[in-house]
Amino acid sequence: MSLKNLKDRYQEILAIGLFNGEPGQYLEEFEMEKYIDSTGLSQIISDMEEKSGLETIIIEEDHILFIMRLYEKLFLTCVAPSSKPFGYCRNILHRMADEIS
């Protein structure tokens, strides 16, 4: 299942990306750079890993950013509008993670 297909299927999602945790670039992304660049994302992931984090949810005024660890060096990111309940969006994130894995 490609990221493009996932974004088309889950139309609530504003952006989606796969990232290896290192600053540089996303492995693949659709619109993610609009919300966070790879340097910022790698800073968050580095601290998240230090705290044994598996998922991070950042709720901002108009959007919610999800970061989820899939494997040791593979992270799924997505952005949903803040108008959606985060629990609902998190379910979509998990469904997408299942389809990618």
């Binding site: 966070i36 601290d47 949810i57 309940p85």
Partner: protein, 197 residues
């Protein structure tokens, strides 16, 4: 689909669909309540008692849509609201009583003004310090969080910041994330009211 943004009470939202025939899914910020023909049939956040407590406390965004409901219980909305009103904390409840009424066996909460912890329950100061540093990392990355949730192997942290004040909650399982989120939001109203010390 009906979407109401703002501080809508869940009790008011349920009243709106009470007379309607059909199957409805009520989405809050973190949980779902399923309703069929004016009767609550399922709650995503736990058992019947948990559902009533949730109904009594929740205010926030609410979205209602039609859809296939799950059936695990049968509580007429009228009865649920009556019981929820009785279960609600008194209007003059302070943050300590809110904390005490939330059943997190192994969870903890803290209200922090500046650098001072003003109210806390079962707090782990070392973990609290560690987790507050995560907020700073996220800000350094260019994000401007209103709320930040970190799910780890050991449990879930939920943090809110209002000026220099933080509300931090922790529970051991992400299955109670919706409840934790609601409790942390509920504590917002006490941040500026609590005396220090």
């Amino acid at each position: 689909m009906l979407e109401i943004k703002g501080d809508i009470s869940l009790m008011d939202a349920l009243q709106m669909i009470k007379p309607l025939q059909g199957e409805f899914i009520v989405h809050t910020e973190g949980e779902e309540i399923h309703v069929k023909d004016g009767t609550i049939t399922w709650f995503s956040g736990g058992d019947e008692e948990g559902c009533l407590k949730y109904i009594s406390r929740y205010t926030g965004n609410v979205k209602i849509e039609t859809g296939k409901v799950k059936i695990k219980c049968k509580i007429p909305i009228d009865e649920a609201i009556m019981r929820a009103v009785l279960a609600a904390p008194p209007e003059n409840a302070d943050s300590k009583s809110v904390l005490a009424s939330i059943d997190y066996t192994r969870g903890w909460f803290a209200l922090i003004k500046g650098r001072k912890i003003i109210v806390s329950r079962h707090i782990d100061k070392k973990k609290l310090k560690e987790i507050l540093s995560f907020w700073k990392t996220v800000e350094t990355s260019g994000k401007k969080p209103m709320e930040l949730i970190l799910i780890t192997r050991n449990g879930v942290y939920d943090m809110l910041k209002m000026g220099n004040n933080y509300i931090v909650g922790f529970c051991e399982s992400d299955k109670t994330l919706g409840k934790l989120h609601q409790a942390v939001k509920e504590l917002r109203k006490y941040v500026f009211k609590e005396p220090e010390g």
